[in-house]
Symmetry: D5
Subunit: 163 residues, 10 copies
């Protein structure tokens, strides 16, 4: 039972904001006692991407579905919705109210212009793509034993077209 404290599950109150396969997937994950780290290893994808798949924020390939159906012991038909075109961005409210997600939002709020100024000087007039984009989360433990989260956001630089 204590394993419940190790696995991310789905708060029933956000189910209505997510595609219908999301709760089914999370239940299977709990039943199989699998972390996103383990599933990601099996799928050959990043943990962040796999969690995004579960929340309906990324598109699964046929291979993803095949592997997931085996791993979670589900029929591929039940997962067919994962291969549709995601309708992104509605999982939670903005501004976020969840403290963990709010901290990420606060970083954008406080450092947004600083990021812009630094990128403009390094790259010119443009943006970092959030589409040609990948991300990962890593854990570091410092000498005092404290844990640190390291999030990497990597996106292609897109210069504004001159027209």
């Amino acid at each position: 039972m204590a394993d419940q404290q190790k696995l991310a599950s789905l708060d029933s109150s956000i189910v209505s904001r997510l595609p219908s396969f999301a709760p089914t997937l999370f239940e299977a994950k709990t039943r199989k006692n699998l972390t996103f780290e383990e599933i990601a290893r099996q799928l050959g994808r990043s943990e962040v991407a796999v969690a995004a798949l579960f929340y309906g924020q990324a598109q699964a390939s046929p291979e993803d579905v095949e592997k997931l159906s085996r791993l979670l012991d589900m029929s591929p038909e039940a997962l067919v919705g994962m291969m549709g075109f995601p309708d992104r961005g509605r999982a939670g409210p903005m501004p976020p109210v969840e403290p963990l997600i709010y901290r990420l939002y606060e970083i954008v709020q406080n450092y947004g212009y600083a990021f812009k100024a630094v990128m403009n000087e390094k790259f010119g007039d443009g943006i970092m793509s959030a589409i040609c984009f990948s991300s990962k989360v890593e854990k570091e433990v410092d000498e005092s034993g404290a844990s640190w989260v390291v999030i990497t956001l990597k996106g292609k630089w897109l210069p504004f077209t001159r027209f």
Copy 2:
């Protein structure tokens, strides 16, 4: 004159949201033709932190002020406000309307729950601090010659206190 295209400056229409030293600093930076990279090297701080200083989103130490005043050829008195306690978070509107800053916001919107699920499984119930926090921006060029932005967000993990 073309250098103008290499240096971040301050849009006059956001000046009223920033502390009064901000436009003075940016003008001196332009006059001295300095990038944030160069200033950061002189101050021994990160580029993101230095840009945040200019926008009034971080606190300067007396040494920062001393070095800046020399570098920018300004009297230290003109920079005294930089050592005050910053009143953070009001530089731009939220949701951001600037495309570059919006992309960062969109990452939080789309991947917020994925980040939360992954961090919870890796670290337990808590948050990544946005205070015990540092960040950097790096440039990578891939084999095809395309540029990529790599943002690193590093924050201490804070578990919720049991009480």
Copy 3:
């Protein structure tokens, strides 16, 4: 199963914002494995208009319903709601959170006044109608093999009445 990756379907979480025929239509379309392009050809209408019909944002003619019922193998009675007067504009939130739709919104945000200035100089004081209006989406592939989307928005110019 991989076809799922080629056909637009309906995210279950937006069904409650749409008229009741919408999910039925999308399911039939998936079952028949039809793209909007194919349906549009059969109906003699634009793809954008046909997709709008499916989302309940445009009115179907009796001929549309007749053809659709044959094409999708549904009774015309099930499609009768499509001939009602649409209650437009509630399919998604504004500002949009879906990245693809947000980009269109951002174009209005960034270039809105530029469009206005150019139209005013070309046409006088008035608006481009969004009612006497049509639109199409085309694909272009440039010499490097990259794909480009070309959206055409065509609306009647309406000068403000002098009174």
Copy 4:
């Protein structure tokens, strides 16, 4: 004096939202009695881009500044701000209240999901870039003598990176 009815100028009440060079540019344009069409021809750029430059929503190259200063009889120094990195997106309120701009917003509101469905089927899972992007406005007159606006939006297709 009637020429005033042919040239776009700047409403004094939005000046505070724009960079400081904007009202200067518009005044010079009025003084020189130039349309955006004429300026665009001189700069070798699109009318929409040139209007965006005037509103501070696009970056000018040194050549743009040189040509503009000659055309408008202004010192290049007065236009130096146009070569800075634009702080986009704050020219007007969203939702727009100006009827002409609102119509464009309404098109996104009504047809947003239709555009998404059609693009997804034509291109896969991704977005049309608003950065690798150009736009033009054209006038058509139909056989009955009525005028039509044709807006073309052309953006690079960016598929979501698999990670």
Copy 5:
């Protein structure tokens, strides 16, 4: 079946904002193939008022209910809710997203102060009542065959009490 194109019906997605008798009434109206014009004639009331009754925005008298029950072939008991005190104003979102309703909102937005100035000069300091109020919609066809909508809003003038 083409009659569907002539009768206003109820979008299923707004039913939850309306009193429970609304969908029942609209279904009966469709079944009986009646326009609001015909119902209004039978009830001796204005079309606008009758449509407002159907949307739960006006109170029915016992005579209205009696006549409606006969006309629509429903038991008077099913219509008893129409005689309750309406809970007005929640049928649709504000600002309206439906294009037809938005145009009315835009008239208030654009001409609100003009209406106020004209009424103040004609009547003094006060308001036009929206309670002691009636309205009608008429159709005019001009010499070119084009149709025009004429909406009349008639409200009692209420001067501010001096106290």
Copy 6:
């Protein structure tokens, strides 16, 4: 001095939302002791349109400017801004807080769907234009001596284009 109670003037706190000619015009109107009714008669335009001109919500023709400059004893140059393309819709907040304007908003809120249903049945699928549009305000006094406001809104019917 009591005439002040008969003429609409401009609240100083909304001046910053209006074009710069607006306060000048209102002051001249007060100085000349002219009502909108009288000015409208001189210009051969509707009172509502003339008030809209003063608030910068409508475009003046060269003839309007000529007549106004004579009537108000102002140089035509001071009125040249009135011939520009208006930037409409920002005179007051929405939802309106001014009681008189709020009542008009409330009419849209309460009767919006009723108007839509009645127009759809009378005209089909489309909208009443707010651009090909005119309006007038009239006063009626009933037998009991009570005053009534009669607002007429007349707009061209625009059917949705089938495409």
Copy 7:
């Protein structure tokens, strides 16, 4: 059946905002044909307080429940929720859209600062409590036969504590 026009009932579309006993109570009240005035007399409480009890905005005492259960012919168990601690303030949207409730809101909007100034001068620095508070609604008929509503709001004055 005409009695329906005399009794307040509950619009089905707000039921989801209220505690579950609310619709049950209103139905019993209708069945018993009781006004709030009559129920208030039986409970020895104010009409406003009794209506607030029905909407779940006030706490019932055991005696209230006992009397109500007899009066409405309901089992006390069905009313037990009325003795819980109310979760106030969510019955309707703010700003109110219901015209009657909006008028009260408008009074606060228009006269809020006037009330504050008058209370500050009469009582000092503090507030009128909305908790140590009671209210009543009375009807007055003037000599012309017109009806007037008189609402009395009585709250304890709470001075700000000096600390």
Copy 8:
């Protein structure tokens, strides 16, 4: 100097929301050391109305201006703006943030539906006018010496017109 603690004055930060005569009036009131009670007695009006006059929320008559100019030792010309048609409702933000004004708002929020139900049963379908309206604030001291505020709101009952 302690008198400052007895007289309502104007916070400099809201001056920009009020007509230009407001700060002048408040300064004269302070200079003359007059309460609203004393001014109201001289004008023969209610205290609430007089405070509303000072905030630009009510219209002054020529007699009001005459008396005020004598009482406050100001030229009538300086007060001429008070006789204009007020642009009401913009003195403070809504929802109010000032605690005293918020409590009045909270009463509407908590008891709004209760007021509506009671008024509907007492008067029928309609509203209490906020225009044909007066209000007063009184002080009561109970036997324990505690102070109570008694606000009376009196408005004409307006039944919805049947049309």
Copy 9:
């Protein structure tokens, strides 16, 4: 039955915002007639923390679940959701409409900057953590017999990292 007046229960209208175990827990608590004080004593935790557990705003340990299941006579399986990672912050609307919760919000609104200034002077540039955080509520009765609430908020001080 009067005990209902002593125990906090759950308003049915907020159930949809909370995890599915919340209503079950509250019902068991009512059935067992237990206060949070008694449950907290049994769990060896603070009352505030225990109430937060019931609302799904804090994570339960396996021991919490074990003890709760015994105390409330529920199977541990029914409580397994309490050990998941909470999705915090969505229990009620912000700004709060419940008067008790609003008062806490108002304290932040009125004294926020005062708290910041005092903490900055006492601790430097940083924040009080809301994660490394505990809180308690105590009751004090003064000499006059009046009750006072004493809330203690204790959070670790986190200085901004210099980077």
Copy 10:
């Protein structure tokens, strides 16, 4: 100069939201190199209250002004505004964007219902007053040398009046 890092000062960008004496006071405080702790000791008031005085969120007594004028070497006339009735609640935006103030807001967001449940069980149906209220901030250092903030909020319990 390093003292700047120990004293709270006023960000110039919030000055327009505060009464006019606020920047004067903060400048004098900086000039005199005084902390709120020292000023509070001199005034015999709490640090939080004194900081609130400086931000215009609390009323000063004549004695406060007298002492402050001596301490800060200012004429009492310059401080006369501090004795006016404060117009509270507008110092910063809500939701707060300043990280320190946001954490307090987050505590209300996350624990609001928990506080309510605990208070209701301890005190009955009512609220903790934010008016009959005091607060203090204390520093604790734990055995590991880490600093903790302890905020105490003490407010009178106000039971809802039964009426």
